[in-house]
């Protein structure tokens, strides 16, 4: 009797969490998939015609805004991630030198942007980038550069969104790479130095390859974050001017909760989920998370 209770107990311990998640995540997801196969406006709940995969094909083939949003998300990744990495890597390299003091203070400073509430950082940047009263333009005016329309100029708006993102996430790249540096084995580097490798050679042929897994992890993590990006863009530009900063999750939100085109919104959320799942599967492979 006791033996049987022992064998069953792990399942009893799993049960509350699994039941709760089934109820608040799995069931809603199944429902959302069902909705994605229909044309359904929240304002007209009695009309619910089944249209198969037509929502999906409309989004992928005919929706120009979706294409812009997808492209902008990609552009953001291409602008932000290399800069975050290059800066993060340089800082991590500098700070891992033995003769630098005050590392704790420095690291604490860099923790702050990462954890700041994204809505707060978004509004804050909106003020900092204000054309007349913003600090950024004030500092530029000291250098003789006149009034830049950071958020109103469609050619600059996406870059400004990227700027706010980079401010918040470069410290994260640093913290991650620094953690990687600290945990690197010492011997290969010492051996290389003994053999007469220059600083750059040691970095290029030893440190960099050893850090590659961590960099791939960070790259995938950041790409997933950008696909889910909502709050900062919402407060900075709401996707404007004229779709210049429209991104995937923001557009999806608008289709669902502003236009109430639920069938299309649900289909779009599944397309986004497919992109993220692809990235997350890669993430699990690369990070060799074992269970």
């Amino acid at each position: 009797m006791k033996w049987r209770v022992r064998r069953a107990s792990p399942y009893f311990m799993l049960l509350p969490a699994v039941a709760l998640l089934a109820f608040i995540v799995m069931y809603p997801m199944v429902f959302s998939f069902w909705v994605s196969l229909h044309r359904w406006y929240l304002g007209k709940p009695h009309l619910f015609p089944f249209i198969g995969l037509r929502n999906y094909s409309t989004i992928l083939l005919k929706d120009a805004v979706f294409r812009i949003a997808l492209l902008n998300t990609l552009r953001l990744a291409v602008i932000c991630i290399p800069v975050e990495f290059a800066l993060g890597m340089s800082l991590a390299l500098l700070l891992s030198r033995g003769d630098i003091r005050g590392k704790v203070i420095f690291r604490t400073c860099l923790v702050m942007p990462v954890v700041l509430t994204p809505v707060v950082s978004g509004v804050l940047w909106k003020f900092l980038l204000h054309p007349s009263y913003g600090l950024v333009n004030y500092f530029l005016s000291l250098l003789g550069i006149s009034k830049v329309e950071w958020l109103a100029d469609p050619r600059l708006a996406l870059f400004s969104v990227a700027l706010a993102n980079m401010w918040q996430w470069t410290p994260f790249a640093f913290l991650l790479l620094y953690a990687g540096f600290v945990s690197l084995p010492r011997e290969p580097l010492e051996a290389a130095t003994v053999d007469g490798a220059s600083g750059w050679q040691a970095f290029r042929f030893i440190t960099f390859p050893l850090l590659t897994p961590i960099m791939v992890i960070a790259l995938l993590m950041r790409t997933m974050d950008l696909v889910k990006l909502f709050d900062v863009v919402y407060v900075l530009t709401r996707g404007g001017p004229a779709d210049a900063t429209e991104v995937l999750t923001l557009y999806n939100f608008r289709v669902g909760l502003n236009y109430f085109d639920m069938g299309k919104a649900a289909a779009m959320s599944w397309i986004i989920a497919a992109i993220v799942t692809l990235l997350s599967q890669l993430y699990l492979r690369v990070s060799r998370i074992e269970f």
């Binding site: 399942y11 909705v35 500098l94 509430t117 994204p118 003020f127 900092l128 913290l175 953690a179 998370i289």
Partner: protein, 275 residues
């Protein structure tokens, strides 16, 4: 590695520049909250609030219901963290202590849920909550945040529990402890640091969340980010109210994170990299 004095000075200068760039906007937020309104738009800007002015703070507390939003943020983040830690520790214990069938699949299911884009869950939850009357309720938003915090907590706690040798709680089981008893009396105290870190992260995700709160609440149960986003109206930007309200939202979470910074990288990468 030793280097010449000149190089070291250059490095320090660079590090100071970077730190200031990282911290200055946050300093600007806090200091502007204490500036009288007329100093917000002066050119050149005023960088120090020489005569701190608490009227904006007082105003959003009295007229903009900030005590209510702060209370909502606390209830929702602590509530979702508590539920996630409690149920998550049961999951983590059974996943790490029993050679159960499907163990691996459950673990990967959990981490996939954590990475799932929120919009997938928000649309159906919006429809259900409207029907069930859970829109704009604390319970509703707590449940919504549990959708990402429970998978996160289960996964992170499993990582921490695995670092505790199995022999220790097996000894407790042999002494006649039940498995729940072994979890609460032996494993949880040993993993206290990891549990605290996981709890801090649950609070952080929940506190900082905007998309769930913005979709599923409006006034009664709205957390701080919702009214803060509202300070940017289509016609009027309320600068001083934002600086004050933004500081109220930012101070607790920044302090909390500074205390837990040892675990920051581990939490942010879902356990893939530990610092």
């Amino acid at each position: 590695m030793r280097s010449r004095a000149g190089t070291r000075v250059a490095i320090y200068v660079l590090l100071v520049v970077v730190s200031v760039t990282a911290v200055f906007p946050i300093y600007w937020l806090f200091s502007s909250a204490l500036k009288p309104a007329k100093d917000l738009w002066t050119i050149p800007p005023s960088f120090f609030p020489l005569q701190p002015d608490f009227s904006h703070l007082a105003q959003i507390i009295r007229e903009r219901e900030f005590p209510k939003y702060l209370f909502n943020s606390l209830v929702v983040s602590l509530g979702s963290a508590a539920i996630s830690l409690f149920l998550g520790s049961l999951v983590a214990y059974s996943l790490t202590r029993y050679p159960m069938r499907g163990r691996k699949q459950i673990a990967f299911w959990l981490i996939s849920l954590r990475m799932m884009p929120p919009i997938v869950v928000i649309l159906p939850l919006y429809i259900f909550f409207t029907r069930l009357g859970l829109i704009d309720s604390h319970l509703g938003l707590v449940l919504a945040h549990v959708t990402f915090n429970l998978p996160f907590a289960s996964w992170m706690l499993a990582g921490f529990f695995r670092e505790i040798p199995k022999e220790i709680d097996e000894a407790a089981l042999l002494d006649g402890c039940t498995s729940v008893g072994a979890l609460f009396r032996v494993v949880l105290p040993l993993a206290a640091g990891g549990i605290a870190a996981t709890g801090v992260f649950c609070v952080l995700w929940s506190w900082n969340d905007f998309i769930f709160a913005f979709s599923l609440t409006s006034t009664k149960a709205a957390t701080l980010p919702v009214p803060i986003s509202g300070f940017l109206g289509d016609y009027v930007w309320e600068w001083s109210a934002f600086y004050a309200g933004g500081s109220i939202a930012a101070i607790p979470i920044v302090l909390l994170a500074i205390f837990a910074q040892r675990y920051l990288v581990r939490g942010m990468t879902l356990g893939a990299v530990s610092s």
